[in-house]
């Protein structure tokens, strides 16, 4: 087997093991605390809801339909948030003064609890894609900005001295040293932003649009449809994990080319 394929197979195996562990924990914890089967659905019940039930096809259509909406909501905000964070990090790197103006504002914005922020944004933006995307951007943006900025600035003194000695300015330093050097932190941001983007999207759906899994889960709870709630939660967790694993694999392939040899 070639090394690349073996690498991917090993990663997939690791992920399957993680899934098995989580399913076992789910079963064991609910049984151990004797959680009511009506509310605390077990893995087998969720499986039945999605695959074995007479209306399973209908259930799947509903859950996966909502999943599609949530993934779109999270995806748009994720890409926009990361892109925005990257552009601003580059701007701060070239013009440090901008950081002192923007950062405190961003900090305050991020410190407002999301349950307060979401209705406020909805009032300003209206119910719809714009308010969901705005919220996801707010969730993703600040940690990514801090992380990418750290990566851009983490330039060895000898490297920046070298560029200066040969007459290179801030732009050349950015293009030749800072940007390639920030690839590992960019990848790290891309990884940690995945779950945050999903959480942000679902909160926005819950408190604002009422669409997607965030909306359907809160409605399912209100109508005692606990099997639907559990199935939705499991599906979004699984999909988040798969996407995260894919980016992790990409990171493991890309990162070694960019880290400084000790």
């Amino acid at each position: 087997m070639n090394p690349g394929l073996r690498f991917v197979v090993r990663r997939v195996c690791n992920m399957l093991i993680a899934v098995v562990v989580v399913v076992l924990l789910w079963q064991v914890v609910l049984d151990a605390f004797d959680v009511n089967q009506m509310i605390g659905k077990r893995p087998a019940q969720v499986w039945t809801y999605l695959m074995g039930h007479p209306d399973a096809a209908e259930h799947r259509a509903m859950v996966f339909g909502n999943l599609g909406i949530t993934l779109r909501d999270a995806g748009i905000g994720y890409v926009a948030g990361l892109g925005f964070a990257f552009l601003l990090a580059v701007l701060f790197c070239l013009f440090p003064i901008a950081e002192h103006i923007v950062m405190p504002t961003a900090m305050v914005l991020r410190s407002i609890p999301l349950v307060v922020m979401t209705p406020l944004i909805t009032l300003i933006m209206g119910i719809g894609q714009r308010s969901v995307t705005t919220l996801v951007i707010i969730v993703v943006f600040l940690p990514a900005l801090a992380n990418i900025l750290f990566g851009l600035r983490n330039v060895p003194t000898a490297s920046s001295d070298l560029i200066r000695v040969y007459g290179g300015g801030p732009w050349i330093l950015l293009m030749k040293v800072s940007l390639p050097g920030a690839v590992p932190s960019l990848m790290a941001s891309a990884k940690v932003s995945i779950p945050s983007a999903v959480v942000g999207a679902m909160i926005a759906e819950w408190l604002s649009t009422g669409n997607g899994l965030g909306g359907s889960i809160s409605k399912a709870v209100a109508t005692f449809s606990y099997a639907q709630m559990w199935a939705s939660a499991i599906v979004i967790a699984l999909v988040t994990m798969i996407v995260y694993s894919c980016v992790t694999i990409l990171d493991d392939i890309v990162r070694p080319r960019f880290v400084v040899a000790s």
Partner: protein, 297 residues
């Protein structure tokens, strides 16, 4: 190489000599450092004088080493020469051209103790970096340099795949890529083991003799300084001050055998003694009142 007559005695480093007028100093314009001071702000209104009244002159094409106790400001002098730091007062000229901080000095190459190779670039692309910045690509020159420093066959290797000595070779090739008339070396072999260091010393001598580039090397190694240099300048502990500059009259090319000659040992002993007396501590380990005085004429 021919030594300038005025540099053949130790007394010539004093500023009085340099002040005598431009007419008489034309021969020593390889490196000219005049009344150089550097004071750093140390926070809370405190100041730290790193170097005080540093004077140094060497002819074009000379190899000069700068030695001194740790923290004496050797690297500060080098950074000012490189245009990386601004002097508080005084002036610096290399090959007749004034060094201006913030402006690249044409024809200057530099290598640090940290090879600072970019890990995502191959060896050849690392060596080509200065040319790339200055906008003139020259693949043939880069290939020649790779052969010159003995890295043929490793053109496409990544720095992470090389040993410490090989990385330092690449760093020196990069310094030479701009075809420098002036070469600055900041403890280039400081992080290497003795064997590798000695080997690279002799390689550096070979390369330098082919090019006769005016060179200033900051180093901790006395033997290394004697082996490579036309002049060894000794600095006192801080605030740093060039106490004396000793011409090394050993014929080139110097070899491993050179290092076992009496002449070589005499230079090393003499410089060791000087370093000891200027290192800011007397024999009981107490700070001396004015360390620089001890060896000043």
């Amino acid at each position: 190489m021919t030594h300038h007559p005025r540099l053949d005695s130790e007394e010539t480093v004093g500023s009085d000599v340099l002040d005598r007028g431009d007419e008489a100093d034309r021969g020593v314009d390889g490196i000219r450092i005049v009344h150089l001071d550097k004071v750093f702000a140390a926070g809370r209104g405190q100041e730290f004088q790193a170097i005080r009244d540093v004077n140094l002159a060497a002819p074009r094409g000379a190899f000069v080493s700068l030695i001194g106790p740790s923290g004496c400001g050797k690297s500060t002098v080098l950074r000012i020469l490189a245009g990386l730091d601004r002097a508080t007062s005084g002036s610096v000229m290399v090959n007749g051209e004034r060094v201006e901080p913030g402006h690249a000095t044409a024809g200057m190459g530099i290598a640090f103790q940290d090879p600072a190779l970019l890990p995502w670039r191959s060896v050849e692309r690392n060596i080509a970096l200065p040319l790339e910045i200055q906008g003139h690509k020259n693949d043939a020159a880069v290939r020649d340099l790779i052969a010159l420093v003995g890295l043929a066959g490793f053109e496409r290797s990544r720095p992470g795949q090389l040993s410490g000595g090989m990385r330092q070779r690449a760093s020196i090739a990069r310094a030479l890529s701009v075809n420098p008339r002036f070469l600055l070396l900041d403890e280039p072999f400081g992080a290497l083991d003795d064997m590798t260091r000695r080997h690279l010393n002799l390689e550096l001598q070979r390369i330098w003799m082919q090019r006769a580039t005016t060179t200033l090397m900051v180093t901790h190694g006395i033997a290394e300084a004697v082996l490579l240099s036309d002049y060894v300048a000794v600095m006192s502990a801080h605030p740093g001050h060039v106490v004396t500059m000793i011409p090394i009259d050993i014929p080139r090319p110097r070899t491993v055998q050179t290092m076992s000659t009496d002449a070589f040992h005499a230079y090393v002993d003499r410089l060791s003694g000087m370093l000891f007396s200027v290192s800011g501590e007397d024999r009981d380990g107490k700070p001396a009142s004015d360390s620089g005085r001890a060896v000043q004429p």
